[in-house]
């Protein structure tokens, strides 16, 4: 198997155990959602609902509620479509391509990136539907038998290829994502308390039992799907680009489009992953799993694909001049100097110049800067699509039909609405789904976890993590400090004396100490830290042991005695045994 050199920065920081990983991921699902989550979700929901309202208005009244005209018959609709599809590219690239290349750093981000992909493709897929003049007969794009009232489709049309490309991509991405989720759902199911959650996660986990056979099949399916998904990464955006490349419109009719679109898609997709991850790791306290190294890797991808996009832009310009076709030449001249020069400038600056800043190590490792650039890149990529679509057709062959495009409030509403819906889905995902691939991350704990990788790292820490492994609140940190205070010889003596009296607990078959009145989750972890895991241990406690424990924890003198933990534990132990 692959073994990483110790010089490489570890991918999991801090002294994470397998259990810690489970705990860190499940915390958000099992605990109560913080206020901020409700605020964020509420805002996204409202924006999304506004978008839905705009879409309903659009469907009720007609496409005329958009700002399109006889010359510019596609504008924000297809711009948004291509933009969202592009964003949806990173997920599968990360999970499939990087998987085949054995890039272990992907494990921290693949689950969320895939979720992002699916939600982005949802948003993308909506635009070709709502942009139709007659959505109610939109199913005619499917090659349905004539009994459905439709005739056979036109296989020459790139729009039809789109239908297949997008739907295939969406389904494969979804299946791939879901397969990965199964073991993690099972973990959540096993830990779940509420009957609803148990039921729900049982259904979601498809009866996963963790048997070797299951794992074996899981691995194979994942690999097969990765193999299937990899060509899709390249095909989807190639096909989307055919919408333009196969046309006769100068500025669309360009053979460079397929590779250029794919590079652009990966570019914007990674930028979106950055945007989301930087927020996610902070909000979910996953700094140990998604840290500077991951951000840096992604920035390198952004830099590379950004450069590819830049080369493509310049190639287009060169070809427009070299071809000598006056319409082509004018189309590009018009892009750069015509009425939409500002969009072209945005595109050039945001997409070509900004990723070049990533050559500086300090910048590409700066989280704030990365966050900023990720927004800039996605803005730039939106403008790229706008420039390609609108500036090409607004002044094409016959100057008599030249026109400008001005968005209406419905154009804007629908676009902003999809952003709202996207985040609404994403927020729901964050709340109810394991945001890290628990099972997968565990596989790299030993090869790339800080504590394993660096051995006695505590003594000489060459790669001291910059990110502190502060994952718990101040109260427990104090306890931890107390517990892990190595200078206090007396302390460990006390612990061992206490444990010798109570007996060594079985950490693996620990009881839920929280059932003891007066013991909360925090106290439970403190007790666990001392070595007290079971009711049996607690039940053995008497006055001296209470005092000893109080002197170790220094937090709740006399409380255990007052609540008579030992008596409670006895009852609980009996209940358990019965």
């Amino acid at each position: 198997m692959h073994k990483e050199s110790a010089i490489r920065e570890p991918l999991i920081l801090g002294h994470k155990t397998y259990h810690d990983i489970t705990e860190d991921v499940c915390r958000s699902i099992e605990g109560k959602a913080p206020r901020n989550w409700y605020i964020m979700f509420g805002i996204s929901l409202l924006v999304g609902l506004y978008g839905v309202g705009c879409i309903l208005y659009l469907l009720g009244v007609g496409i005329g509620t958009w700002g399109l005209n006889k010359t510019v018959e596609w504008a924000w609709d297809i711009t948004n479509f291509v933009w969202w599809v592009g964003i949806g590219h990173a997920g599968t690239l990360i999970s499939a391509v990087l998987m085949l290349f054995r890039q272990k750093w992907r494990m921290a981000i693949n689950r969320s990136a895939e979720a992002m992909t699916i939600f982005a493709v949802f948003m993308a897929g909506m635009f070709p539907l709502i942009h139709m003049g007659r959505l109610w007969v939109g199913y005619w794009v499917l090659p349905l038998p004539n009994e459905f009232g439709s005739l056979w489709v036109n296989f020459n049309s790139p729009l039809l290829w789109d239908v297949f490309a997008i739907s295939t991509y969406l389904s494969v991405s979804f299946v791939f994502w879901y397969i990965g989720l199964i073991p993690d759902f099972a973990t959540i199911r096993d830990r779940a308390k509420s009957p609803v959650a148990i039921k729900a996660y049982s259904l979601l986990s498809f009866g996963w039992s963790g048997r070797a056979k299951h794992w074996n099949r899981f691995e194979i399916v994942t690999l097969v799907l990765a193999g299937l998904a990899t060509p899709l990464v390249f095909s989807v955006h190639s096909i989307v680009s055919f919408d333009f490349a196969t046309s006769v419109i100068p500025g669309w009719h360009t053979t460079i489009f397929p590779p250029y679109f794919v590079a652009g898609a990966v570019f914007s997709g990674f930028a979106m992953v950055q945007t989301l991850m930087l927020v996610l790791r902070k909000a979910m306290k996953l700094e140990a799993y998604i840290h500077t190294k991951h951000i840096e890797y992604m920035n390198i991808v952004i830099m590379t694909t950004g450069s590819m996009v830049g080369v493509a832009y310049l190639t287009e310009l060169f070809m427009s001049w070299y071809s000598g076709v006056e319409y082509e030449a004018y189309a590009f001249l018009n892009r750069a100097t015509g009425p939409y020069w500002w969009a072209y400038m945005c595109m050039m600056t945001f997409n070509v110049v900004s990723p070049q800043l990533m050559w500086f190590k300090r910048l590409r490792r700066s989280l704030m800067f990365t966050f900023f650039i990720s927004i800039v890149v996605n803005t730039g990529m939106w403008f790229e699509r706008f420039v390609i679509i609108v500036t090409s057709i607004h002044q094409d062959y016959l100057p008599s039909s030249w026109s400008m495009f001005y968005p209406t409030w419905v154009d804007i509403g629908v676009y902003v609405g999809t952003i709202g819906l996207f985040f609404m889905f994403y927020m729901a995902y964050v709340r109810y789904f394991p945001v890290l691939a628990i099972a997968e991350v565990k596989t790299i704990l030993k090869s790339s976890g800080e504590s394993y990788k660096n051995g006695s790292a505590e003594l000489h820490t060459p790669a001291k993590p910059k990110v502190e492994t502060v994952v718990e609140n101040i109260e427990s940190k104090k306890v931890e400090d107390v517990v892990s205070d190595k200078s206090d010889e007396d302390h460990s003596e006390k612990i061992s004396s206490l444990i010798s009296k109570l007996g060594v607990g079985d950490a693996l078959n620990k009881d839920d100490l929280k059932l003891v009145s007066g013991v909360g989750p925090k106290l439970e972890s403190v007790l666990n830290g001392i070595g007290i895991y079971t009711f049996e241990q607690v039940s053995k406690m008497t006055k001296p042991e209470y005092d000893l424990m109080d002197s170790i924890t220094k937090t709740f003198p006399g409380r255990a005695e007052r609540d008579d933990w030992a008596a409670q534990a006895k009852v609980l132990m009996n209940n358990k045994n019965n």
Binding site: M132, S157, S323, Y397, P399
Partner: protein, 1121 residues
């Protein structure tokens, strides 16, 4: 399989027992004990439980609700007795005549199931050869205007004809006896029958007319002298009185002569827009077109001097920009050059370049004596006297100008009208009867007229609408639409014509003549089916027309033929030279006194709106102006140079509002947006007449008012609807032009313009143009370069037509292949085709706001391109291109050459739209048509994007029912829907539509030929656009018919296909425009090294296409040339 088996219900039936026979008669064999049943006590005991009650309640509520639902009312009722000549599904055509006071044409009216739905010119009869203008075409829609008067009204209250007639007759009689004057006021009346009725009317009300008839050169000239208290005044909104007065002075005839453009080798027009509205513009345009074929015996040369950019001016071979105050100067130079004597006292302020052009014109005129024509748009007698003098010197009165066949239109008696207004205000008029006129709106002193009108006790207006004048009259006699009435006309010399009704009057209306007849006591009005006027006309024709001819022996056949053809093909008297007796020195004195100013305002009429009579016709309002391409609006046309100096916005577009300016001339003030007009003489501005109708909310039709973004009428601060534009008629008080001050006004205004970019950017495969000299001497490749591609290892050059990315559609030499050719040389941009197409194909009207957003629905549009300063002519790149680049091509020259290019679906054989449609809603027919299956279209608009000609139109909204279009789209009201052509489906929201090459007409023609068992004859095929084109610029036909005209013209030297190099293989061809001018820059560009340069450029283009077809030739393509 037959069977003889019988089945019996039982033995009884088999045996036919008496009991059985008895029982079989009773429906219920056993007697029902009804009494017993009713007496059943249990039944009485049975009670309705709560649940049952609720059930019944629920059922009855549901049933009642269902019953209350409105069932769709099916309004189509089949004929019980099929009327003669009406076969459902088959059109019936009626020959008729159109005359509205300013336009005259012999027309054919298409009716379907009794509804007139379409009008085209009559090509078989009449002197216009079928030429019509857009207004005539659109007039069919005005028939179905829901705001037409539906009953006669007294003081605005609906009444019946009997009580109306009684009141009017009574009041007229009392007016006659009161000693006050009775006035009949109308537009020019050319109906001999109506004139005769007027005579009787006058007699009835105490007037007396002495008329003397004498034969002058074989034409009956009737001189009438009115005595007594009754007078008939004729007044036109646009007056040509100057020409009549000048001819009276010059030749002793108060007439407008006929002009023959087919004989004029040189045409010089000084401000006369003869292709638009000047006199009989239809006839003139057609004649002009006949002499514009560069392959013909000769091609005319046309000079035009004007201030505005007019349709005629835009088509001129040589155009000079002058101020209207300089018309006299141009005439003076011409006079000097041709007769040798200048006009005394006329100073020359003309630009040297213009002087040179005028001298050129003079030389050409002299060189073509008796084969030339000078016309002038001025309404000033002195100017016209000078014109007559020059034409006389040129001997044109023996050929191109015919004084013996006078045009009877435009008899406006301006002096009498002014006198009438004074009399009215002085209270001397006791009664007035008006028809076909609207002086409150269209007279320069409209307000004075209106105050005078208020002083008249008995004011009667015969009108279709309660318009500006009618709404101020006590009596309004609701008038028929012309399509509902009989009429006869004498438009010219001894030409007579008939108009026949094509539909029974829709409302309680009657024709003007019928009203006059009733009031004169000549007949009783018997309701809608009254035939008194028809009978009267018939009598008149029997009395006067029939004896004049020898062709028909019985009046019955004479009359039948007259009605069938709508006009007799009269023998026209030939032109004879007449001595000029005009007084040049007096004329010179008047001309010398003309004073210009810093800004001179010229009023003009647009081809769509004309004098404003049909301002409420939505088709016409939405028709892009031929020159400016603005719809739904009136504006000030100003030279871009002047606009820059004054700081006005020169931008056009959805979000680029125009600046407003206020014109102040004397006490006339109005504010309008300013439109940058290349070719407008600096120091002059143009304002169209015919706008600002209904400023007091008169009920003149919905489309005369502005609507807002969401469709409702815009209202001003007083809650009144806002008119479209301003009324410029008061300016006519100043004569040909008004000196004015123009100041920038507050605010901005959005114009809805269908074309916002005015140049063709030097693109030479869209429009092609050359000069007659080059055309005559050079190869076709010089001015009509065919695109080629290189192929194979040897870089063989092959024409673009030989390359195919896909298999060809098998349309060549198999069955039909419909093709169209448009001659850019004879297309004048009048837009008659556009309206005809709209009428034939049910094209929706979308209103100003939608047009502003670039969403007009016209299937056919006319692109108008100006040359930029670096284009020697439209679509060429001059030498300066090397330095200035595309930026130099962006803006039109201040004095540009103009080209008009009709653009519609090209029915490409390799159609880019067809390949991209995901559901195959647009496909190719095996006859070469690109077809739209509307009900298959899902509205992705991909086809529209991929169309290089941008001719596809998307239904952004549900035009027939969405609220935004209530006031503009005629298809939104029941009446307006009657104009829809049942052969063409009304498209639903969300689908694409476009020109179908009138496939319904093609199919109908094919069907006729098939039923007659013959092949289609060339010329039998026509499209809506081709059949109304006044110059026959559009040719359609079967391209596979090797003898067809379309095949012939598309294989000639001038034929080319727009954007041919894309390889889309259109079925529409154009023919290169050939201007009869000297253009050295163009000659240099096209003939010597200019050609090489262009060819070199093509090499790059070809190279690009090479890659596409897989023929790799890039390594030495540039070196190849």
């Amino acid at each position: 399989m037959g069977t003889n088996r019988k089945y019996w219900k039982g033995l009884e039936e088999l045996n036919q027992t008496p009991e059985f026979l008895e029982n079989s008669k009773n429906e219920f064999p056993e007697e029902l004990s009804v009494n017993e049943f009713l007496a059943d006590e249990k039944l009485a005991e049975s009670s309705t439980g709560r649940r049952d009650f609720l059930k019944f309640l629920g059922f009855s509520v549901a049933a009642a609700t269902l019953a209350a639902c409105e069932a769709p009312v099916i309004k189509a009722v089949p004929y019980v007795v099929k009327p003669e000549n009406v076969t459902p599904g088959m059109p019936t055509w009626y020959a008729s005549t159109y005359y509205d006071g300013s336009s005259y044409a012999s027309i054919l009216v298409k009716t379907r199931e009794g509804r007139p739905i379409y009008i085209k010119g009559n090509r078989d009869h009449g002197f216009e050869n079928g030429a019509i203008n857009p207004r005539i075409s659109a007039s069919v829609l005005s028939l179905y205007d829901s705001e037409r008067l539906q009953n006669p009204t007294i003081d605005g209250v609906d009444t019946t004809w009997s009580s109306f007639d009684a009141s009017v007759s009574k009041e007229l009689s009392s007016a006659a006896s009161s000693g006050k004057k009775i006035v009949l006021l109308s537009g020019t009346e050319i109906s001999p029958s109506t004139e005769s009725i007027i005579k009787e009317f006058k007699t009835k009300f105490g007037g007396d007319t002495t008329s003397t008839t004498e034969l002058v050169d074989g034409v009956e000239v009737v001189t009438e002298t009115s005595t007594g208290n009754i007078e008939h005044v004729q007044y036109d909104a646009i007056s040509y009185n100057g020409i009549r007065q000048a001819n009276l002075e010059s030749f002793g005839k108060n007439i407008i002569p006929d002009y023959d453009f087919t004989k004029a080798k040189t045409i010089v027009s000084v401000g006369a827009d003869f292709m638009n509205n000047w006199l009989l513009s239809g006839q003139f345009t057609n004649q002009y077109g006949q002499r514009r074929n560069p392959d013909g015996e000769w091609m005319s040369k046309y000079f035009h001097f004007e201030s505005n950019m007019s349709i005629s001016g835009s088509n001129a071979d040589v155009r000079g920009m002058i101020k209207p105050s300089q018309i006299g100067e141009v005439l003076s130079i011409l006079h000097k050059e041709i007769t040798g004597s200048a006009l005394a006292g006329v100073a020359s302020t003309l630009d040297a370049k213009v002087v040179a052009k005028v001298k050129d014109a003079a030389n050409e005129l002299k060189a073509n004596k008796a084969e030339s024509l000078l016309i002038c748009g001025s309404n000033d007698k002195s100017m016209q006297v000078v014109v007559n003098s020059i034409n006389s010197a040129l001997n044109n009165y023996s050929s191109t100008i015919n004084l013996n066949n006078p045009i009877n239109l435009f008899k406006s008696e301006d002096d009498k009208m002014s006198a009438l207004i004074k009399e009215m205000n002085a209270g001397k008029v006791g009664a007035i009867v008006m028809w076909n006129t609207n002086p409150t709106y269209s007279h320069e002193n409209g307000d004075a007229f209106n105050t005078g009108l208020a002083k008249i006790k008995t004011s009667v207006s015969i009108s279709q609408f309660a318009d500006e004048t009618a709404s101020n009259c006590k009596f309004v006699a609701a008038e028929n639409n012309a399509l509902e009435s009989w009429n006869d006309f004498n438009p010219k010399g001894n030409v007579y014509a008939i108009a026949q009704p094509t539909i029974r009057p829709l409302f309680e209306t009657r024709s003007a003549a019928e009203s006059l007849m009733t009031w004169a006591g000549m007949s009783e009005f018997s309701g809608k089916d009254s035939s008194s006027f028809h009978d009267y006309i018939k009598t008149m024709w029997e009395k006067y027309g029939f004896p004049k001819q020898t062709k028909y022996s019985s009046f019955k056949s004479f009359w039948a033929n007259a009605v069938h053809n709508s006009t007799d093909d009269a023998n026209v008297l030939a032109a004879t030279a007449t001595t000029f007796n005009g007084n040049i020195s007096t004329a010179a004195k008047t001309i010398a006194a003309v004073k210009g100013g810093d800004f001179e305002v010229i009023t003009y009429t647009k081809s769509a709106i004309g004098d404003g009579k049909m301002a409420s016709n939505p088709w016409l309002q939405e028709m892009p102006d031929s020159i400016t391409k603005v719809t739904w609006d009136n504006y000030i046309t100003m030279s871009p140079a002047d606009m820059k100096a004054a700081g006005y916005s020169e931008e056009l577009g959805q979000e680029s509002p125009s600046s407003l300016a206020t014109i102040v001339s004397g006490d006339v003030t109005f504010t309008l947006p300013v439109f940058p007009q290349p070719g407008q003489m600096p120091g002059t501005v143009g304002v169209a007449l015919g706008y600002g109708r209904g400023k007091n909310n008169e009920k003149i039709g919905k489309s005369a008012y502005q609507t807002g973004e969401y469709g409702a009428f815009l209202e001003d601060e007083n809650g009144k609807r806002v008119t479209i534009g301003a009324n410029a008629y008061p300016l006519l008080a100043n004569g040909d032009f008004s000196v004015a001050t123009i100041t920038k006004a507050e605010g901005v205004y959005n114009l809805a313009c269908t074309q916002t970019h005015s140049t063709v950017m030097g693109r030479n495969s869209i429009v092609k143009e050359t000069t007659l000299d080059i055309y005559k001497t050079e190869d076709a490749g010089v001015y009509n370069h065919q695109h080629t591609l290189h192929t194979g290892w040897n870089h063989d050059e092959k024409p673009i037509a030989e390359f195919n990315l896909w298999d060809e559609h098998p349309v060549e030499n198999v069955g039909h292949r419909w093709g169209m050719s448009i001659d850019l040389n004879t297309c004048i941009g009048c837009s008659a085709c556009l309206i005809s197409c709209q009428s034939e194909n049910n094209v929706p009207v979308v209103g100003k706001d939608e047009v502003r957003r670039g969403r007009e629905m016209h299937w056919l549009r006319i692109d108008r391109y100006y040359a930029s300063d670096i284009e020697p002519t439209v679509g060429t790149k001059g030498k300066e291109f090397a330095e200035e680049g595309f930026a130099g091509l962006q803006d039109a020259s201040n004095d540009p050459k103009v080209i008009h290019m009709p653009m519609m679906c090209h029915h490409c054989n390799h159609a880019p739209c067809e390949t991209v449609c995901p559901v195959a809603a647009t496909t190719h027919s095996n006859e070469g048509l690109n077809m739209m299956s509307y009900n298959r279209c899902i509205g992705t608009r991909y086809c529209g994007n991929n169309c290089p000609y941008k001719v596809r139109r998307f239904n952004w909204f549900n035009y027939p029912s969405y609220r935004k279009f209530t006031e503009v789209n005629p298809a939104q009201d029941d009446l307006g829907r009657m104009v829809l052509n049942p052969d063409v489906v009304v498209r639903t929201r969300g689908v694409m539509e476009k020109c179908s090459l009138c496939v319904q007409k093609l199919q109908a023609t094919k069907l006729v030929a098939k039923k007659e068992g013959r092949a289609i004859i060339d010329g039998e095929i026509s499209t809506a656009c081709s059949e109304v084109c006044p110059t026959n610029a559009i040719t359609v036909g079967d391209w596979n018919d090797t003898k067809s005209l379309v095949r012939k013209v598309t294989t000639e030297k001038r034929a080319y296909q727009a954007l041919e190099e894309i390889g889309i293989k259109p079925n529409v061809w154009y023919q290169v425009k050939v201007r009869n001018e000297k253009n050295e820059a163009l000659a240099e560009l096209q003939t010597s090294h200019g050609h090489a340069a262009e060819h070199h450029e093509e090499a790059h283009g070809e190279h690009e296409a090479d890659l596409e077809t897989g023929h790799d030739s890039h390594d030495d393509a540039p070196a190849h040339h």
